[in-house]
């Protein structure tokens, strides 16, 4: 009973924070300096991580699918399979999971330590609302940077797949690219770029909530960061399923 009560309390508080954030979202223009700082800190600094993860995923996809396709004499379809898989699914998902760890922990720990050192209370005591000043720039920055990060991840993963296909599976380079581009349609790109927009909002809002609801000193900050990463990772998987289901029902009905 007590647990259910606490769960409802958190759901209510989270909904309030999200509602207030959506109402205050245009404030990112007013606090553009803070938003740009966050874009640099959360987005630009994640590029290397995302690129490293993507190239590996692209290579693994090519190796796994290449062997299977070879059995059916369909190796020429490899480019198509990799480009569709990466752009529609793997790129946003892997980027989302990587950023859940990096961005989620960073936001939750930063806001958590601000809460613990009473900086959030100090802000309220001076008549300032922490939502537009602290939360909106982080959420806006994550949403804005997530889309190009996923685009970079997609491109790098396909390049990784191409390298593996050419070097280890002796696939013809030109055939790979023709197949990769032939299989792509505008709606695939749309799906691939809609997902990161919502995923960015999900990661940032969950992490912000865990940050501002931190309690229990330094241990509490660590606990919030860990919980934020776990919750963001699960939410990303759920969001991915939800968006895919919705888009498949809507675009492919």
């Amino acid at each position: 009973m007590q647990k259910a009560k606490r769960l409802f309390y958190h759901v209510e508080q989270f909904s309030r924070m999200v509602g207030s954030t959506i109402i205050n979202l245009p404030a990112f223009i007013r606090y553009h300096r803070s938003t740009l700082d966050q874009m640099n800190h959360l987005g630009y600094a994640s590029i290397f991580l995302v690129m490293a993860a993507s190239i590996m995923i692209g290579m693994v996809l090519a190796l796994e699918w290449g062997k299977k396709l070879e059995l059916f004499g369909a190796k020429l379809l490899m480019g198509r399979i990799i480009s569709i898989a990466v752009i529609r699914e793997t790129g946003p998902l892997i980027t989302g999971l990587m950023l859940s760890g990096r961005v989620g922990a960073s936001i939750a720990a930063e806001l958590g330590s601000m809460k613990q050192s009473e900086q959030l209370d100090a802000m309220r005591a001076m008549g300032a609302d922490p939502i537009p000043r602290l939360i909106v720039p982080r959420i806006a920055a994550t949403m804005i940077t997530f889309v190009p990060l996923v685009a970079i991840a997609d491109a790098i993963a396909i390049i990784g797949g191409w390298i593996a296909a050419v070097v280890w599976l002796q696939t013809d380079s030109t055939h790979f690219w023709i197949s990769a581009l032939d299989g792509l349609f505008f709606k695939d790109l749309t799906i691939g770029l809609i997902k990161p927009f919502f995923m960015g909002f999900t990661i940032a809002s969950i992490s912000c909530y865990y940050g501002i609801s931190t309690y229990g000193g330094a241990e509490g900050v660590g606990r919030s960061a860990t919980r934020a990463v776990m919750a963001c990772s699960l939410a990303i998987l759920f969001m991915d399923f939800l968006i895919s289901k919705f888009i498949l029902a809507f675009f492919y009905a």
Partner: protein, 247 residues
């Protein structure tokens, strides 16, 4: 309901606050007069800091009435509270300075909230004046991480006073400081009362500091008021808890 005592700036009536199952404040009655420095004494967990947080509405009471500037703050929304909060200052226990911005930006934070279009020259002059008042001008461009505990407290006081508030709430302003630095902080609190007629509420558990700044004292034990009066009355109190605290 209008407050019928013109000198009262804060009135606490039958105020209770519970956290989970724990009663932190229990049916508290108290009033604070304009221009006085009320010191709230008590041991750890007595509810002293909770009372300060209730006064500035960072938390809401479970029961009772809390009137600040003739307004029942329990009836005000977060937005309606902002003008009231701009008439008050809060000095947090650890200073609560924003790590990512300079001392100047910390001190002038409330200036930018109240007047987003303030010119840089006016901002700098106002901040320099208040830093001069707390004898910290050389730290204008420093970051909070570069400051000692006492310096952080003085910057926190500068930040709380920059908008010329009518009430300042101090949460353990001298805790963790050596006696010399504590004396400087106490002198600053007294100067603000004498020169600017600021009403202050000081929460502390250090008796010597309480005697240095108080015009009136109250003592809390387990969320209940066990003493109210002057310094001399405190020393003569027959209450066993007060006697134990004083000794």
């Amino acid at each position: 309901m209008e407050n019928n005592k013109p000198d009262n700036v804060i009135t606490v009536e039958d105020l209770s606050f519970t956290y989970g199952n724990e009663m932190v404040l229990d049916s508290l009655n108290l009033s604070v007069n304009k221009g006085e420095t009320l010191v709230i004494l008590g041991g750890s967990g007595a509810g002293k800091s909770t009372l300060l947080r209730l006064i500035i509405a960072l938390i809401r009471p479970t029961r009772g009435r809390l009137t600040v500037f003739d307004k029942d703050i329990n009836l005000l929304s977060e937005r309606q509270l902002r003008p009231m909060r701009s008439r008050m200052g809060f000095v947090f226990q650890g200073g609560a300075l924003f790590d990512s911005i300079t001392v100047a930006e910390n001190v002038g934070y409330a200036l930018r909230i109240n007047n987003p279009r303030i010119s840089e020259s006016e901002f700098k002059k106002t901040v320099m004046d208040i830093l001069d008042y707390v004898e910290m001008t050389e730290f204008y461009s420093s970051y909070p991480a570069d400051l000692s505990g006492g310096q952080r407290k003085r910057i926190a006081i500068a930040r709380a006073t920059i908008t010329h508030p009518e009430i300042i709430l101090y949460d353990e302003p001298t805790s963790g400081l050596d006696p010399i630095v504590s004396k400087r902080i106490n002198q600053l609190i007294n100067r603000l009362r004498i020169e600017q007629n600021i009403t202050s509420i000081v929460v502390t558990h250090i008796l010597q500091d309480a005697f240095e700044v108080a015009t009136r004292l109250v003592m809390l034990k387990n969320g209940r008021l066990v003493f109210e009066g002057q310094s001399d009355d405190l020393l003569l109190s027959k209450d066993p808890y007060v006697q134990q605290f004083v000794r």
